[in-house]
């Protein structure tokens, strides 16, 4: 087993690509051996393409794929130690569950007792023992997906397992069970897991580290906590969190950011960094971090309306003409149509120049 490195991977599905055709642009990534990663991004951002390049189903237009020090860019999937689970369960319908699990082994020349032993072992682990003699087509969707996963696990040479939105067709209440099962398997086997999803909850609960992609580029690779606290890009701030980060255009005046004529104090460090910026500046703040009616200071705002979400409420406010979401406890007395003051704590405020974070 070894870590997987992607060196300046670009890909286009066109035969003679022009600059607008690229679905992946200069991707540079390192997946540590044994890590659990999520690849998060909206539909069509290139996640699946990247996954298929790692497993060898696609050859990148340019760039190299390295397993440890071995360059595998040109190798077909069967010569890579990798398994892949697809969006919907893919099984061999005429096979029993046992035969499905044995298939990758038999294709690699294994026979008889060796096959049976490995299949039994995996079936036990995945709690498939009772259905081994059943046709794969008779199982429920989540069991089918487990069988697909089992076909990856059954090979003892597998170093990494790639998941391409594997829970799309699974009932919501079974998703939790399956995701927990994946975590257990990860703890036990220490495969490198790469999990593609467009669902932030799935990504944040599954992975040690999340890679956020947008329009064929990697915007940030970080732990869930880091993604929440310090989004490297306004898009990450907007994509992670519910609702996403507030991003407001601003200018700098000394120690403060100015939004619609209102001064928002900045931390010393951030103000110093902002002073050197020449591009368009934006101020980012999480809805969770905004303080209603602070004891001192604060910026005048108008509350448009308040939505009740049960445990919390979300107020939509305006500073000047700029909309702002504020996440409130269920007990904070705020109603739509009133004016108030909102506090933006300096230690929570982030600044972005041309979309990229300039915060330390």
């Amino acid at each position: 087993m070894a870590e997987i490195k992607l060196r300046s991977i670009s890909h286009s599905y066109a035969a003679t690509p022009e600059s607008g055709d690229y679905v992946l642009r200069d991707i540079e990534l390192r997946w540590r051996d044994g890590g659990a990663y999520a690849l998060l991004g909206p539909s069509g951002c290139g996640k699946t393409t990247l996954l298929n390049i790692m497993s060898g189903l696609l050859r990148p237009t340019s760039g190299r794929v390295l397993y440890g020090d071995r360059d595998v860019t040109e190798l077909p999937p069967r010569q890579r130690n990798i398994a892949q689970v697809f969006q919907f369960p893919v099984n061999y319908d005429t096979f029993t569950v046992f035969e499905n699990l044995a298939f990758p082994l038999r294709n690699r020349g294994l026979r008889g007792r060796e096959v049976a032993a490995r299949v039994q072992h995996i079936a036990e682990l995945l709690e498939l023992r009772d259905v081994l003699r059943h046709k794969a087509s008779e199982l429920s969707a989540d069991q089918k997906q487990i069988v697909s996963l089992g076909r990856g696990l059954v090979r003892d040479d597998v170093a990494a397992i790639l998941f391409d939105e594997p829970l799309t067709v699974i009932d919501p209440h079974r998703k939790w069970v399956l995701r927990r099962r994946l975590r257990e398997i990860h703890r036990q086997f220490r495969h490198t897991l790469v999990y593609v999803t467009h669902d932030q909850t799935e990504a944040l609960t599954f992975a040690d580290e999340v890679v956020v992609m947008h329009e064929g580029r990697v915007l940030q690779q970080a732990t869930p906590e880091e993604l929440f606290a310090n989004p490297a890009h306004t898009y990450v701030g907007y994509f992670i969190g519910s609702p996403g980060m507030n991003v407001l255009p601003c200018s700098i005046d000394g120690q403060s950011a100015v939004i619609a004529g209102q001064r928002v104090p900045l931390s010393e460090d951030l103000a110093r960094r902002a002073a050197g910026c020449t591009g368009t500046l934006e101020l980012g703040i999480r809805p969770e971090h905004i303080v209603m009616s602070p004891p001192s200071g604060g910026v005048p705002a108008a509350i448009d309306f308040v939505e009740d979400h049960g445990r919390f409420r979300i107020a939509t406010a305006r500073i000047g003409e700029h909309a702002l979401k504020i996440k409130l406890g269920a007990d904070v007395p705020v109603t739509g149509g009133e004016a108030c003051r909102v506090g933006l704590p300096p230690e929570r405020v982030r600044l972005y120049e041309g979309g990229r974070s300039i915060s330390p």
Partner: protein, 291 residues
């Protein structure tokens, strides 16, 4: 009485009447006419005698019809044995997308658009040893080929003609079946290290099962009822060697005007096809056993 119990309404009869009428005129009335003929001896416009199952017994003992029946069975078996594998093979070779795919589809569909008697005429000319391209070429190669004199040659010609005419149907059905297989299956097979044969045997063939059942039913029914093409091509000859059931029936009904036996024969013919298709469908469509 509970509030949601059914209420009797005679309007239901009114609503199903149009459907009953259509079915009556399209199926039941013509079929009953045949049944009517099959149990009577019609001696003149107003003179008829009820004969019971006499015509059925006669038809079932007719050795000429036995011969036609066996030839028919053999013909349909050969047709299925050739056209199914060939059709699957062609569909596997067809380009999946792009303009090549469209061109292939049109070219393949062409034989299906040719009227039956034109097919017979085309092949009759094509296989003539004096002016036909196919027949003359075989002759030129030094092969003794003459479909008007040699029963085996006649058979081969009829089979090849039917293969040309109808294999595209099987191929098109299989092609649509193949196109319906999601890409993920092929990707998973590559990850699993499956050989091309394994992909065919364990992914494509099982996924083609449903269209293949339809292909078998269509090709069996059509080939079992074949009439026009051999009639035009060989006229059922040489001798009776390419006389199939439909042609025997026509001789009986139109040639000899034996309406009673012909009606009895039609019913047996119809019931046989119905029975075969039913049995085949039941066997193929039963759910796979769990164990």
């Amino acid at each position: 009485m509970s509030p949601i119990s059914k209420r009797k309404s005679n309007r239901a009869w009114l609503l199903v009447t149009p459907m009953v009428m259509v079915v009556a005129f399209s199926a039941i009335v013509p079929l009953m006419t045949v049944v009517n003929y099959s149990v009577q001896d019609i001696l003149g416009p107003d003179v008829r005698v009820f004969v019971g199952f006499e015509w059925f017994r006669k038809v079932l003992r007719d050795s000429e019809l036995h011969g036609a029946f066996l030839r028919q069975l053999l013909f349909s078996s050969v047709i299925l044995a050739v056209q199914l594998p060939l059709g699957i093979g062609v569909s596997l070779l067809m380009p999946r997308r792009g303009w090549r795919s469209s061109v292939t589809l049109v070219v393949l569909a062409l034989p299906l658009l040719v009227p039956w008697n034109v097919v017979g005429t085309m092949w009759q000319i094509f296989c003539r040893t004096d002016i036909g391209m196919g027949g003359a070429a075989l002759h030129g190669l030094g092969l003794s080929y003459n479909y008007t004199a040699n029963p085996l040659d006649a058979w081969l010609t009829v089979v090849v003609m039917d293969v040309w005419h109808w294999t595209p149907l099987v191929a098109l059905l299989c092609f649509s079946g193949l196109r319906a297989i999601p890409d993920a299956y092929y990707l998973a097979a590559r990850i699993d290290g499956a050989s091309p044969w394994a992909v065919f045997r364990y992914i494509q063939l099982p996924k083609l099962k449903n269209v293949l059942v339809i292909a078998v039913l269509l090709r069996f029914m059509d080939s079992f009822m074949i009439y026009t093409e051999p009639f035009v091509l060989t006229g059922g000859g040489p001798g009776n060697s390419t006389t199939f059931l439909s042609q025997s029936l026509t001789r009986l009904a139109v040639g000899q005007f034996d309406l009673g036996p012909a009606a009895a024969f039609s019913l047996i013919y119809f019931l046989f096809i119905l029975f075969f298709c039913y049995v085949f469908r039941v066997i193929m469509m039963r759910p796979d056993e769990g164990q």
